[in-house]
Symmetry: D2
Subunit: 258 residues, 4 copies
């Protein structure tokens, strides 16, 4: 009886030679940019010139964004425990949960599931139900998010601005109209629109964030390993922690067995 096999469509060896999505790997080297190769790996086909440019903008917009977020804290803390570079980076990736990168997936899903509908009805329904629309609103940017603005400008310049981008912008206007205050299309919303234009499935959404942000995580973990002492990432109980637990107490006699 046959054992069940692992299955894949991504890459294979034919006659001992490595192929990716049907193309010889060695032919790709020197001919494709990294971004083109990423598109090929994820989509199964080669990108057009404008798809490449758009995707470059997406990854550059994501590549690094300060030491502050949980992914950098986790990556540097794990490195600080005395680990190799890849272990710190792996821990950084783990931090990309619902609250950190997850908005991109949510925004892609929102756009892809609603693009055929009337934006004003979609927005009304969400707001009536008290639901947040993923991809809109930002802690600091109240007028516009400069990264989103650049991404939309580039989409227009290179002839990439289609119905998903259109829908995403209309939703932004509609939110402002209904709420009476602007929630800017943030970088997740803008990226969600353009990768939807490329035909990417929302289930892959977090992948764009992971691929784009990995270089930043690598740089931070490398910096930790080469410029800080092991175990330097340690909280100072006195200055950085507040204890809200039990005061000292005696172990009851019945538990003193020795």
């Amino acid at each position: 009886m046959e054992r069940k096999k692992w299955r894949t469509t991504i890459s294979w060896h034919f006659d001992g030679e490595a192929y990716v999505r049907g193309y010889k790997l060695k032919d790709l080297i020197g001919n494709l940019s990294f971004t083109e190769a990423i598109y090929l790996v994820l989509k199964g086909e080669l990108p057009s010139e404008k798809e490449k440019k758009m995707l470059d903008a997406v990854f550059v917009a994501t590549v690094e964004h300060s030491i502050a977020p949980p992914s950098v804290i986790a990556g540097r803390a794990v490195a600080s425990g005395g680990n190799s570079l890849h272990v710190g980076v792996g821990a950084g990736v783990l931090a990309f949960g619902e609250a950190h990168g997850g908005a991109l997936e949510g925004a892609m899903r929102f756009i892809q599931e609603n693009v055929e509908k009337d934006p004003s009805e979609v927005v009304k329904r969400y707001l009536d139900e008290g639901k947040r629309i993923p991809g809109y609103g930002h802690r600091y940017y109240k007028d516009y998010d400069p990264r989103s603005k650049r991404i939309m400008e580039i989409a227009k310049e290179i002839g990439f601005f289609g119905r998903y981008c259109q829908f995403a912008l209309e939703v932004e206007k509609e939110i402002e109209r209904v709420k009476g205050k602007k929630l800017v299309m943030n970088v997740d919303g803008a990226i969600a629109a353009v990768v939807s234009e490329m035909g990417f499935d929302w289930r892959l959404g977090k992948g764009f964030f992971i691929i784009g942000r990995i270089p930043g995580i690598v740089a931070h973990v490398y910096e930790e390993l080469t410029t800080e002492k092991p175990f330097s990432k340690r909280l100072d109980e006195e200055k950085e922690v507040e204890y809200l637990g039990e005061k000292p107490r005696e172990l009851p006699e019945s538990y003193k067995r020795n």
Copy 2:
């Protein structure tokens, strides 16, 4: 041609019934304590009463040790990114590198490779070569480490104090004699001695720390998920970070392609 199989000695199903190290899993439930089952899984045999007591002391000494270390920082930061409990706990375990738990492995190796030798010669050689002896010295404890003291007392009480413990204590004395100052046998050194008495291989060393400390990590990640807001683990650039990098500068004209 036959494919290579995965191989194991740990557990198996016989006639659809789960066995661990040859014993029916269902017979172990209700008969063994968790500590006895851990010993069985790791060692392949059931522990004696004194081995069980000793191992309980080892795990209790390790179970939790403040919010400060990198493992808790990593675990809580990952949870804070919007993840399930197990993802935060996994990240916490990743922090157990050379500088955090690794000393136990080092101390076990040191004791197991040198126990047959003369402690004074071993210590002299290490100190002459400028090498640190793992398992000795502590940031705060200068006279004795209270956890090590308890572990050694218990080893003596239950008749578990053998040549590994003897050697470990002689090394402590010898270091004091040669250096003229005490480096206390720390908790890693004490645990290393007693698990060596049990015949455990030093390559398993970090395993005792992982198993013992997991409950603390679980408690911290659970606390984070249930009492703090998502993304609360974020550095405040103004107050918690010092920037040592490039001042603002203009992108050179040759890179302005749009």
Copy 3:
């Protein structure tokens, strides 16, 4: 202006001495079993004798269950890439998602949210809505799950069988009555009932699985590191993989830039 502090109730240092949930750590060593210490860390209070026994049964039932599941595959594969013990174990923990350990959380939630209601109405509603009730049904066991049977027996023997266990068993009967076929209370369902009796929150559910199963993962990763060659966990494309992707094709001329 004050920076926000990390907050915790779990452990603290008073006068340079480590305390866990208000008790001196050094007093716990030698007095508590590992299981009692785990209970203290998770719950904040010391367990009674029957709570300790019950929790021992829970962890022993979980401690190891064959080389087959994804957690062991992941842990051994990561070890095989040339990593330390803790990195393989961390990867194993990551596999404990919705399909692997997640049922315990689901079953606890189900029991805790419905225990006050009429079991027959609860079951009817779930089945009418086509929802699976977590904690019931097993791939192999059709009459009873031997691990659940043991856990329920122990709960009765030690006087631990209360309303949560009662409810869980009634649900099993009700499912059989309504569907006309038995879905056995599986080990997740049984553990869910008894840890609910102890007053543990369902959000901590996966924690019991993680703590209980870690020794098995440690044993497997240690076995991989000490008995198998690095990189031995590698799929054989010819025998273990089916390729469903593109056949070889030429890179279009327009992409040949060199």
Copy 4:
């Protein structure tokens, strides 16, 4: 008293605007390719045209290499446990240990520490001491590694072939001369030479592999999540595992406490 701050040189906010290595992030979007942005993040400066081309070749050569390796097994197994995309990807990164990606770090270190020396003496010393020279030798390729050949060709074409590449090729010839058989410069060796030409530190070595391979891992985890059932990555004990452990045995009477 001041608390110790986290320190970084990578990115910062000036007047609420995000800067990376001193440049406004928004200026980079649309102007830099992803590869240029990666170079900037890692190195602190913008790449020249030939550095960009070289780095593109490096990442494309690394982007994906079959479903076989431990990183894909780990990533897909973790996904199969019922996890989000990023958790599977994180587990894949963890597999990049000494035996899987680690050779790049080793080869960079070898080249950087020896480039000033006479290749024939370096090779002689290594072989006399029975040490493997990282970056040479391949399981399948005996005449040449097609990926290395392409990378060296590109280095020559774009005027990037300097003393590190020269040294790496001389080492290959020297090994053949001394051993009487060829060990081809593999892809790790070739990448090590060209990123050394760019002035990257060997401690960052694994970072190039991580960044380059992440798209492949993302594609595999996405494929697992969208085309396979949860828990499908499970070993079949009968067909895929060999049990080498204890035969069934009775729990000794002294352990039967219930």
